[in-house]
Amino acid sequence: MIFWIERGIEIPYDELLEDLNNDNPKSDLPGYLYFLTLLKKLCGGRIFSSIDSVIHFLIENKDTMSFQIQTSGTTSVPKSITVKVSNCIRYVKKSKEESLKIWGMGYPHGSFASTQVFFQSLMNKETIYYVFGIDFKTSDQIFSEYKITNLSCTPTFLSMLLINLKKEYPSVLKITTGGEKMKNSLINSFKKIFSSAEYINIYASTETGSLLYSTTEYFSIPEKYTSKLKIEDGTLRVHRSLLNEVDKINDDWYDTNDLVEFVDDNHFKFVSRSNGYLNTGGFRVSPLQIEEKIMEIEGVKDVHVYGKPNSLLGSIICADIIGEGVSSKIIKSELMNRSIEKQMIPQIIRIVELFEHVSNGKKKIMI
């Protein structure tokens, strides 16, 4: 039985068990190693006789076990968030029968969404194909050969797949997206290619875990959460009892800073995030962190990084730069040479003469 597929390499459950019980795993696949390390930390060096005993251990101890997820902070320093295993597997469905599901994991390892896919698959001894980071030209071969049944990814990842997939893939029975706002037009677009697929749109965050589910871009607050979720001043607020790190919150209500817009009395859609992060293609990035990297480039005197709404990525990263002897191409090349992650490289770069500083402390551009 296969546990993990990455770059076409298959890791069986037997190998996972062997790697859990021993040091020096045979594989050096980054996605696999991330989840192996996570599992080893949770298991605390115990030796297991079977994968079933690992699953049993996780279920028995889910309320007391937690792990850390790194997320880019609102300052330039990335922060670490503690996630309880119980919160991560809140909605994991445990199947009594042997499952033949093959998950397409279209989230980067280390993200909260990827850990949810990981636990859902592991609990039922299913298979994950780590499709995040694939060359999209190979997507037809992957979907045809491996018959992925459950695709879980960001809307951007789904868009990129749809650009590259040309025929129907009836093996895909369920598509789940999250991490960015979804558009109904994209939902309609994939129905031709994934004609058998049921669709679920999930609203989740690292701080709260999964909270809301929908089959369109519109959400409503479910009855069980009427006392735990509310919309105030246009943003979604979550009661402290639903948070991963309840100890760090002084107020009863946590402001997600996710802006919503009502479409009727009961339904709303997410408009944007206003919490200092930019969400680009499902990646959460800090403008301040990007500004810091750009300021290191010779010739740059000042920089303002901001997001613009974009129908493909959610937000596109833009940078206005004051400097001498710099150009858009030079800035991009310098950032690429410094191994800055692709999502942190501004796509729209303008070289300007000065900024106007406005009362809220933000920089306003003067061309």
Binding site: F136, K137, T156, F157, S159, M160, L162, I163, N164, S185, L186, N188, S189, T280, G281, K308, N310, S311, L312, L313, I316, S328, K329, K332, S333, M336, K342, Q343, I345, Q347, I348
Partner: protein, 74 residues
């Protein structure tokens, strides 16, 4: 309009070191397979085209060829 779209595509290819200049472009030229654009490059393309023509080419669904961009701008 077509010439301007091609100019925008070529500038994105150059700026992102994709080292591929499109002389003969036709409606069936694929944005990812033929031109090598990734999701970030495509997002840049949408912004540049919207800034020039006032149309968000991905607003109504997925675009995969240059011809589909032309159709959105008609």
């Amino acid at each position: 309009m077509k010439e301007k779209v091609i100019e925008i595509i070529n500038s994105i290819l150059r700026e992102n070191d994709l080292e591929m200049s499109v002389e003969e472009i036709n409606d069936s030229t694929k944005l990812t397979d033929d031109l090598g654009l990734d999701s970030f490059n495509l997002a840049q393309l949408t912004v540049e085209i919207e800034s020039e023509f006032g149309v968000d080419i991905f607003e109504n669904g997925v675009i995969s060829t240059v011809g589909e961009i032309f159709n959105q701008l008609k």
